[in-house]
Each structure stands twice: as C-alpha cells, then as structure tokens.
Symmetry: C2
Subunit: 314 residues, 2 copies
C-alpha cells in the first residue's frame, strides 16, 4: 500500500509517493505562484500528475498538509493565509481529479503525525511536536490521537508567556511566537544591539541593523558575541517555558522540535534542555530523549502528509 | 442503573448513590482520621455500608475520586499526599469487600467528568475544568475523553506562568498554583500589606498579618480596600493567563471553574473574564458562557466520582 503526501508551504508545494513503512518512492516539487486558488491548485496537480506517471502501483489515498486551519471532517482548507486560501474544498477537488480519497490536516498536526507514524517518536502514544520557523506551530498526539478540541487545538505558538510582550499577528501581546519564532528572535536581536552593536554584528549586517535576522543572531553568537548569546539563550528560555507548560498539560513521552530555526547545530535544543531543567525544578531522568530534535529529513513534510492516510487515526 | 460515587478529600470522605441521570438518591460522609491506610479505608466503608443499607436497587459499580495521582488501569491510588496513600490498590480492596467493579480517578479529572456527564457543560465534547482551592487542580476533556497522556496530564495548577515567582511544593518557582490558589493569594496579600496594612486589613486580621487568608483578601476587597482589590485582580489575571494557554492548546468549548476560592459571589470569575478579553487580544463572542462557574452542588465530588462508572469513557 502506498499513499501520496502533499505538503503545501508558503512558497512551494512538495509531494511524494510513500510506502507503508515511510519510505519515499518518488517525490517532486513546484514553486507556488500566488495569484489565485486555481494557479496554486494547478501547481499541486502538476507535481501529483508527474508522481502518478512514475508510480509502480496506484496510490490508495492522498494526504494534504496545509499551513493554516482546516475542517478535517469536511476536507476543507478553512484559512491558509500564506497561500490565500479560504474555505477551499481541497479534498473534494483532488478526489474529482484523481478519484482518490483524501485527508487534510494543519501542517503542524501532520508533522506531529509523521513523527508518530514514521519519525523519531515512533511507538510513542503521547508526544508534543513544535516547529519553530517563521512562526511556531504545534501538534499534539495524546493516546495515539491528534488533540484537536473544537478544531484549532495545539497552538503552542500562541500561548501567552510574556503578558505585555511584543504584539503578534494573532492579536496577543507576548505569545510564544512573538518572542521565539524567527522574526521574534530577530526583533529581540535588533533591540539588544540597537544602542551599541558589537563589531561582530556590524560586520554580519553590513552596518544595517534592519537586516539582522534570527540567523544573524546565531552566527554572531557562534562568533563570540555575548549580547547575541544572551538573545539566543532567551530564545531557549521562552521555548523551555513552552515545554514546561506542555509537560504539565499533556504529560507526553517526548517533546520534539523541528523547523528552520532549530537547524543550528544543536545549540538551541541544548539551551532548551538546560532551561527546562532549571525551570522545572527537578532533573528530568532522560532529558536528551525527552526534549529532542526531529530527524532532519528534507521530506518530513511529505511524510507527515502521507502518514495521514497511511496510518489513519483510530 | 445506579452507581456509588466516593469522593475522598483531605479531611472527610463523602459518598452517595447516584442514578443514571445524575440524581443523588442517598448520601453520607465521615471525617478522615489520618493514622493509617486502614482507618481511612474503614471510614470509606462505614459510609458505603450505610448507603447500601438504604439502597433500593443494588448499585452496579463504584467510582472513586482521589486527591492525588492514580493508575486508572490498575485501579491504584499511586500517591495521595493529603491522605497518606501510596500505591494503594483501592479498586481491588473495594471489590473484595462489596463485589462491585470500580473505577478510580484523580479528583480534578473526576470533577471534569462530572461536569461533562451531569453538570453545566453537559453535551460539550471539549472542556477544561479548573478547581481553585488550597491547590489548583485541572481536568481536561477532549473529544469526549479525559486527556491523561502518560498519566498526570491536565496539571493546570503547575504550568509555569511567572518564572522566578514563589516556590511551589511541585518544585517550580512561579507555577499558577503558587500564585492563584488560596495560600498563594494569601501570600501576595500579606506581601502587599506588609509595609502598611490598611485599617480594613488590620481590623479583619486583628492586627496579625500572619492570619490573613485568601478569604481575608476577598473580604477586605469587598470592604473597599484598594490594595486587596489589586491582589484579587492579580489573581484573576493569573487565572486568565491559564485560560488563554488552555484555550490555545485545547480549543475547548468552555473553561469551567470550581473550588472554594471561586465561591466569592462571582467577583473572581468576572475578573478572569475581563482579563481574558484583554490578554487574548480579541473579544470572545460569548465570554460569559466560555468562562463559567460550575454549578454550586455541594455533592459535585460525589457526582464526579459516580460519573466515572455511570458514563464510562468510550
């Protein structure tokens, strides 16, 4: 049995054919041109058409991961701001075209499900998945099921951790995302450097502080800039607070981090572990396992989407 | 069909026979004398024996709510500090004595289940239950199931909301319980009044600040003490932060508060609602319903325990 996984991002669509054990048999991608629903959907179909030509056996279903809110039961992308979708009946549209049943999920929920089905957390019935990039997404598996509540549960990025902190798009001042996602890290970095940027920061930004990103913070910290090491340490602390909260509320077997900001040679995850131990007030017996990085598969998005149909929820 | 609900508290055991619609057919209580497992268990049996004498039909099962952690599958009270229990096979002991099957749960989880089965949240599949008293307990229902994770999920009282805040028994500095449970409110009240207690506080405490409790804070606030009104408002703010976090993580249909601290004529719940609106960054369309008080049944504990067996989890 094989399935198609479609991972829709802000700038590209990636898709693949995945077998029952999580092996990728074929994959492809296409850039997204955001002028209408139709052209984005056309990009998706171009990739899937190409995959089906390569397929040795016909896939049995399509899983779709979308950066936004979905109605899983109705198969609708309710709101995906980055791609401009609103109430798009994606599952029905793909079923019409390919004659295959489909399942749609929020991308962080699909990512969590992929970790559960195929990833480093395989075999665990309770896990918290956090992706840290331009935003912070979350997906929670409890007793082998995705926690959805009324629909948009698992929004770890938007829990309030610093009342009165920076304003997020979500309307909250001081949610986790406003502090610890890429733009939040950059903002704290710029604020820290505003008065007297170090030589290192000046060099890395070419003297233009506005160009400072979360990657600049990392590079400067690695180059020995103590101020930027402090900014990075604060990122770890905010994320560790999120871990403590999730530990108390979900009692997971592990908390697994993914996303671009986490790809820093292990600095941030180490910082999160250290802060977690300090804040939680007791040593976790196996912190390296409890707070971990997702495998660095470049196809994690495809795997998560395919897992939706290859390991259907009970 | 009827069931027995046994609610074990720190100072007393209450039990009742409850019918399928949540009506209490008979009830009783006994004080707890904490000298050994056996005497406490004897108190439980005295109450249950008496109920069974009164019973018109034989109850079909026993639900037990315990103030501590339990192993539901094994029917064991793992740790109940207030009554001194450790790894007590309570379900087996009661089965031996009465020949009835049993289900055990943490008291906050049982409280949540009682609200779900019989209370103000009947018919809702997703709810967060928070009890604020000497401690802060939490129980979460998601998709009609109790969220347990590895066992002790739903610990709303011990989420970190103020890093570096007061030290809690749980080992964390600044968890919600350390700030917003009765002793935490009293501590903040004493701190606020330490330098210059108002006339009102001096009168209410007889000049002995050490005797100031959370109820003193309430009474002083009601009598117009602005400092204690500020302490009460901070309590509402901390609890509203907890609500915002639970809203993002569980997307519940409602958040329902119970417990002694909440029985203040509605002041605190109103404050929580107001702070929630401010902190959440958007008006909730139906805040009065979303953040609510549990019904003031004096038998809520019995109902929650009985609900464990009258509405078994799917």
């Amino acid at each position: 049995m094989t399935g198609i996984g479609i991972d829709i991002g802000g700038t590209k669509v990636a898709a693949g054919i995945v077998d029952h054990d999580g092996a990728i048999l074929a994959h492809g991608r296409a850039p997204i041109v955001k002028d209408s629903h139709e052209t984005i959907l056309e990009s998706v179909c171009v990739v899937v058409d190409d995959l089906l030509v390569q397929a040795v056996e016909r896939p049995s279903a399509i899983g779709i991961a979308v950066p936004g809110t979905v109605d899983r039961d109705q198969g609708i992308a309710i709101s995906a701001v980055n791609v401009g979708w609103k109430n798009l009946p994606l599952v029905a549209l793909l079923q019409d075209r390919y004659g295959l049943p489909g399942v749609i999920a929020n991308d962080a929920n699909a990512g969590a499900w992929g970790e559960y089905a195929f990833g480093s957390c395989k075999g665990m019935e309770n896990l918290v998945y956090v992706t840290v990039g331009t935003g912070i997404g979350g997906g929670i598996i409890e007793a082998g099921r995705v926690v959805r509540g009324r629909g948009a549960a698992g929004e770890i990025g938007h829990i309030l951790v610093n009342p009165g902190g920076p304003l997020c798009n979500c309307g909250v001042n001081g949610c986790l995302e406003s502090l610890a996602a890429g733009p939040g890290i950059a903002r704290r970095g710029r604020t820290a450097a505003a008065n007297e940027p170090s030589e290192i920061v000046r060099r890395l930004t070419g003297g233009d502080l506005d160009s400072l990103t979360s990657f600049t913070v990392h590079d400067a910290a690695e180059a020995g800039d103590q101020m930027m090491q402090g900014v990075r340490d604060d990122t770890a602390r905010w994320l560790a607070i999120g871990c403590q909260i999730c530990q108390q509320l979900f009692a997971p077997e592990c908390i697994v981090f993914a996303g671009g900001v986490m790809q820093d040679g292990g600095r941030l995850i180490q910082g999160i572990r250290a802060w977690f131990q300090r804040l939680a007030g007791s040593e976790h017996p196996d912190i390296e396992s409890f707070i971990r990085l997702a495998g660095e598969s470049e196809h994690a998005g495809i795997l998560g989407a395919a897992a939706l149909v290859l390991r259907p929820e009970q």
